[in-house]
């Protein structure tokens, strides 16, 4: 009886061992591997954004809408020749002559470079449509046209605020109307 018991114990041990072996073999890490190859080619690039000037809100520095991007709005309000009339307190209003007035506001242009050895950049601008007769759009006293980019700067520093003043000059004969231009700035790495 004792012998039988022992034999039975051995069988049980063997069975458990076998089960463990099976389990172990089943539990052997099932794995699979793969290899993903990644390639890319880095290119230099630059970006241009418009920022509010630190003096924003004071005369001559109107706030940009959507500032910090490359597509902003600059509302200079309503103005008229007689009586130095202008509604925006953030613009500079002046009578240039006995028959012309100018409304102006300044903002900053920031051009940033990446992966580029370019030392600086040149800046140009262009208006979108021909302005009405006797109306001029200028940047820092440089008259803009819609026929091509007008050079503004030859070697501006990357990452630096470049303050530009947008000026609208209107003769007193210009009829009441909304004067609107989309001014495109072009920065080109030197």
């Amino acid at each position: 009886m004792s012998c039988n018991f022992k034999f039975g114990g051995m069988k049980a041990l063997l069975a458990i061992g076998g089960l463990l072996c099976v389990l172990a073999s089943n539990a052997t890490a099932q794995s699979s591997s793969g290899q993903l190859t990644i390639t890319m080619n880095v290119q230099s690039s630059i970006t241009l954004v418009f920022q509010n000037n630190p003096s924003v809100g004071t005369p001559g520095f109107c706030p940009l809408t959507n500032g910090g991007t490359n597509n902003v709005g600059l509302d200079m309000g309503t103005a008229a020749f007689p009586g130095n009339f202008h509604t925006a307190t953030c613009v500079n209003y002046t009578h240039l002559t006995a028959a012309d007035y100018q409304v102006s506001s300044a903002f900053d242009v920031v051009v940033t470079k990446a992966n580029s050895s370019s030392p600086n950049y040149r800046l140009a601008a262009q208006i979108s449509t021909p302005p009405p007769a006797n109306v001029k759009w200028l940047l820092n006293n440089v008259t803009l046209t819609n026929t091509g980019f007008t050079a503004l700067d030859a070697a501006d520093a990357f990452g630096a605020r470049i303050t530009k003043t947008l000026q609208v000059q209107v003769k007193n004969t210009v009829a009441a109307q909304v004067l609107q231009e989309t001014i495109t700035f072009l920065a080109t790495a030197n």
Binding site: S44, S45, I46, T47, L48, V49, F50, L64, T69, N70, N71, V72, G73, L74, D75, M76, G77, T78, A79, A80, F81, P82, G83, F85, A98, A99, Y101, V103, F107, V109, V111, K113, S116, S118, V135, W137, L166, V168, V170, N172, T173, V174, A175, A176, Q177, V178, L179, Q180, E181, T182, I183, T184, F185, L186, A187, T188, A189
Partner: protein, 187 residues
Amino acid sequence: MLKKYISIMRGAALAALLMCGASLAAQTTATGVINGTLVNKNGISIQFDTDPAGVTLGAAGTSAATANFGTVSAFGPLAAGVTRPSVTAANFTVRTFFDVQVIQGGLTSTTYTLTANLAAAAPTGLNYKVDAITLTTALQTIQINGAYHTDIAHNLDLVILTAAPGAGGPAVNTPITTTINFTATAN
């Protein structure tokens, strides 16, 4: 055959180099746009300027100026820029000159009409005239074809009764102030 192959390979390598060079030389640019807006409004404005022959206006060059005749009397001395064109038994007149400049923008109008009135009834014993037109609290037409953008001289007369205070004459030894409203209307 081998030579042809080598030639093709050389050509391909050269093309690759050229393309590489072109890529490196490609201009790096960035653009941004500003949408600028200004509403040009038409309008007309008036300003008073000191006339060389008149008293020096306070706040000259604005639309709210002052003209001070100083101390006036039928016979005594007058301030610079003040004259006394007439003295009668009933009254005396003191006169000064002032300029009006009307500015317009965005209009097709070439001239304007100038009107004036007293802001309140004239003080006792005084009458006010602009270019010989006696002013009242009702609008009086002073000029019908004023030219824009230039100073146009007008004379301002104070006709002062010689009667004593309380007998129809003006108060004495006290400043008498009157406001005259001017309106320029584009023709």
